[in-house]
């Protein structure tokens, strides 16, 4: 990689749909440079943006980025290798935001993911400059399209503009939906970012935006044609750079997921309600019989069925990530471990244990109190293994949601394999009911049985996260 | 004759399933061929 370059794309070939969109495409982005990507609709500008961000696979060629320690890293190549991007800013053509996020949260997330330390006063000043402070606590879904676009653009340039070391900002049609004042502000920031040594790549149709560029690359017939840019536009003063706090994409993702769920607990409710209905149905139907008379297996299955139902329910994270390319934004920022991260963070970790206990309390009323105490002491063990099952189920749902029309297929067909971990856990609970807990590594003991259930879930999870991204 | 009903119903279900599937596939092939062949012939000419 040439010294002085922040990004180098070498001879990439990308296929989209049934056609080859880019062929032998190469570009380099130097420090302090603004490049405009232009071309007809469908020419491949967005595809090139996504290839540079490492989101899509390459048929040939590779994409390299310069790191903050001046070494370079191949973030994507045609052998299927993928590595995380250094801190950067990204604005996708669709906004890349979930409707549940608040405005201030969005900016905070963009800065955290890129490792910039911030507090509320810094965020408020930023939002003020961009005319969004009055909406800082509003949800993205409640903003007009113009304000949403403004926020999305700010999320893509703030992580770069507020950084001291040179970084790259990638913007796909940033001016679309912006009013004149916002566009002028954007132009001023972009020229100022270039002055500070940052690199900016903008895919655009907008003639005014093209004028800001130092170089113009036209995407035409799957290749790139270069022409000089005008480098025009006023330079505004950027806010003071922020201190570096270390890139924390996973922690930011976790915080984001928890915030979304606290604000709108659709995942918790969506999992808990069918589970509770199952408990009540089981109680209503077997209430008049003593389940223990029919063997502990029946009771164990009835008790664990509700947490199982909560574990395999479709996770809210897959719906949130599919909103406005939100998942693609996170995918670019989190990198190759995004899929395992989504599946763990998005699964049901708080419901299985309380649900198992609630299930036992409701359904096992006629069980001998000694047995009940023993079960209550150890019910957490199969319930914790149910969490592993939940993670495997989430990974399968996410696998199906990769398709462009996930609503047209039934992910539950892939979940059938999770019956076996459930059967093993039922077996384990049945053993605890019959003989009490045995802390031995006996093959037919509850401990080993629970281990096997978790092992099967883990194998399913590994397969579901490994194949799609290789 | 224990199990005769099971055998008969199995064969009935499977016969219908495979028969209908093959019928649909062959008619689909015939339809597509009759639509596409004339266009292909014109292009070749």
């Amino acid at each position: 990689m040439e010294p002085g370059n922040l990004v180098e794309v070498s001879g990439i070939e990308v296929h989209r749909g049934r056609s080859m969109v880019l062929h032998e495409a190469s570009l380099s982005l130097g420090k302090g440079e603004v490049i405009a990507l232009i071309g007809e609709n469908g020419s491949g500008k967005s595809t090139l943006i996504e290839a540079i961000s490492g989101i899509i696979p390459l048929r040939s060629g590779d994409v390299q980025w310069r790191l903050e320690n001046d070494s370079n890293r191949t973030v994507r190549d045609s052998q299927g290798r993928r590595r995380p991007l250094p801190p950067m800013g990204l604005t996708l053509q669709k906004d890349g935001m979930c409707g549940e996020e608040t405005v201030i949260e969005r900016i905070a997330t963009a800065l955290s993911v890129s490792g910039l330390s911030h507090d509320e006063s810094i965020l408020t000043r930023l939002l003020e400059e961009w005319g969004l402070s009055h909406r800082s606590k509003s949800r993205v879904a409640h903003l007009s399209s113009g304000l949403r676009r403004r926020l999305s653009v700010l999320s893509g340039i703030a992580p770069v503009a507020l950084s001291r070391p040179p970084r790259v900002s990638i913007l796909d049609e940033p001016s679309e939906g912006l009013d004149t004042a916002s566009k002028n502000l954007l132009g001023g920031w972009i020229r100022a970012m270039a002055r500070n040594g940052h690199g900016v790549i903008i895919a655009t149709h907008d003639k005014e935006v093209i004028q800001w560029a130092d170089r113009v690359l036209e995407v035409c017939d799957s290749s790139l044609k270069e022409s000089p840019g005008e480098s025009s536009g006023p330079e505004l003063n950027l806010p003071k750079p922020l201190e570096m706090a270390g890139q924390t994409p996973i922690a930011s993702l976790m915080k984001w997921t928890i915030s979304m769920e606290m604000r709108n607990p659709v995942d918790t409710v969506g999992r808990a309600v069918p589970a509770i209905v199952a408990i009540l149905l089981a109680y209503a139907l077997v209430g008049s019989i003593d389940p223990i008379d029919h063997g502990s297996n029946l009771l164990a299955a009835l008790v664990l069925a509700p947490p199982f139902i909560s574990a395999v329910t479709s996770p809210a994270i897959s719906r949130r990530l599919s909103e406005e390319d939100c998942g693609r934004w996170w995918n670019a920022n989190v990198g190759p471990i995004s899929r395992p991260a989504f599946s763990i963070i998005g699964s049901s970790v708080i419901i299985p244990i309380p649900m198992a206990y609630f299930s036992w309390i409701v359904l096992a009323g006629s069980v001998d109190s000694q047995v009940s105490i023993e079960v209550l002491k150890w019910l957490w063990l199969p319930a914790i293994c149910m969490i592993d099952l939940a993670i495997a189920a989430t990974s399968l749902h996410l696998l199906a949601s990769d398709l462009s029309r996930p609503g047209a297929v039934s992910a539950s067909l892939l979940l059938i394999v999770l019956v076996w971990p459930f059967l093993e856990l039922t077996e384990a609970l049945s053993m605890i009911i019959d003989n009490g807990m045995q802390i031995t590594l006996q093959f037919n003991g509850p401990l080993v049985t629970c281990f096997f259930a978790s092992l099967i879930s883990a194998l399913v999870w590994i397969s579901a996260v490994l194949f799609p991204d290789t | 004759m224990t199990g005769i009903y099971a055998a008969v119903s199995t064969y009935a279900i499977l016969s219908v399933m495979i028969g209908v599937y093959i019928y649909l596939k062959l008619t689909s092939l015939a339809k597509l061929t009759s639509e596409f062949e004339p266009i292909k012939r014109i292009e070749e000419e």
Binding site: H15, R16, G17, R18, S19, I56, P57, R59, L399, A400, D402, L403, S404, R405, A408, V409, S410, A411, L413, L414, I416, V417, W420, P421, L423, E424, E427, N444, F452, I456, L459, S463, A464, F467, P468, T470 | T2, G3, I4, A6, A7, S9, T10, Y11, L14, S15, M17, I18, Y21, I22, K25, L26, S28, L29, L32, T33, E35, F36, I39, K40
Partner: protein, 237 residues
């Protein structure tokens, strides 16, 4: 191509005739089994279709696996065609296994399903995978992204086979003797063997014939789509 299509159609029809003839032989010519050794002696006649369905579904799943691996590793167009064919045939023949198996099981052994039976459960899982793939192939726009995802799902499904084998073995070790599934070829009468062979040959003919038919349909649809893509590019005139 025309000749091959005709061969495919004829093989399919011939195979279907052979399969129906096998069924008739199975009812009216095949010998009865010892009623003391079987709970539902007449139900054994299901075997004449159950075994061929199992064999052909195994072949279909092999095609699906090879196709998935082929696309996954080298984005081979042939691999994609194998996925298309393998998933449809896997669904058809796999469904045959998981319909006939439980019906037979419920009358002969009193239980329609055995979670410890490796074969039955593996077939069920792969049939579910085939249903998923067929639904996806019909609903999703064709393209590299879709193909990559479906090939990955296809491979994932096959990794589930050894996982299922482990899981069912563990279950069977704890629940032995719930269902005993006899091997189909233990001590077979020559007449039974003959009818089974006829059935297997007939189903193989159906399998090969349908492979050609489904592939031909897929090819024609692809060519039509290519034409449509060219017309898309012309735009408004």
């Amino acid at each position: 191509m025309d000749v091959i299509k005709k061969i495919g159609v004829n093989l399919t029809l011939l195979g279907l005739l052979g399969a129906y003839f096998t069924a008739i032989l199975g009812f009216f010519w095949a010998p009865s089994v010892d009623p003391d050794q079987w709970n539902a002696p007449e139900a054994y006649r299901i075997v004449y279709w159950h075994v061929p369905f199992a064999w052909t579904s195994f072949l279909a799943f092999c095609l699906l696996f090879i196709g998935s691996a082929s696309w996954y590793v080298s984005r081979s167009e042939t691999g994609w065609r194998l996925i298309n064919v393998g998933s449809e045939l896997g669904l058809l023949f796999g469904a045959g296994v998981i319909i006939s198996g439980p019906i037979w099981g419920s009358v002969e052994w009193g239980v329609p399903w055995d979670w410890g039976d490796v074969r039955l459960n593996t077939y069920a899982l792969l049939t579910a995978l085939a249903i998923f793939l067929v639904m996806a192939l019909r609903s999703q726009p064709d393209g590299e992204g879709t193909r990559d995802t479906l090939a990955a799902i296809g491979l994932f499904g096959f990794v589930l086979v050894p996982i299922t084998a482990i899981a069912t073995t563990l279950w069977r070790d704890r629940h032995p003797g719930l269902v005993i599934v006899d091997s189909e070829d233990s001590g077979i009468d020559p007449e039974i063997r003959l009818i089974l062979m006829l059935g297997t040959i007939s189903f193989m003919a159906i399998f090969i014939g349908l492979t050609i038919v489904i592939d031909s349909i897929h090819r024609i649809k692809s060519e039509i789509e290519q034409q449509n893509i060219s017309k898309d590019r012309v735009g408004l005139t």
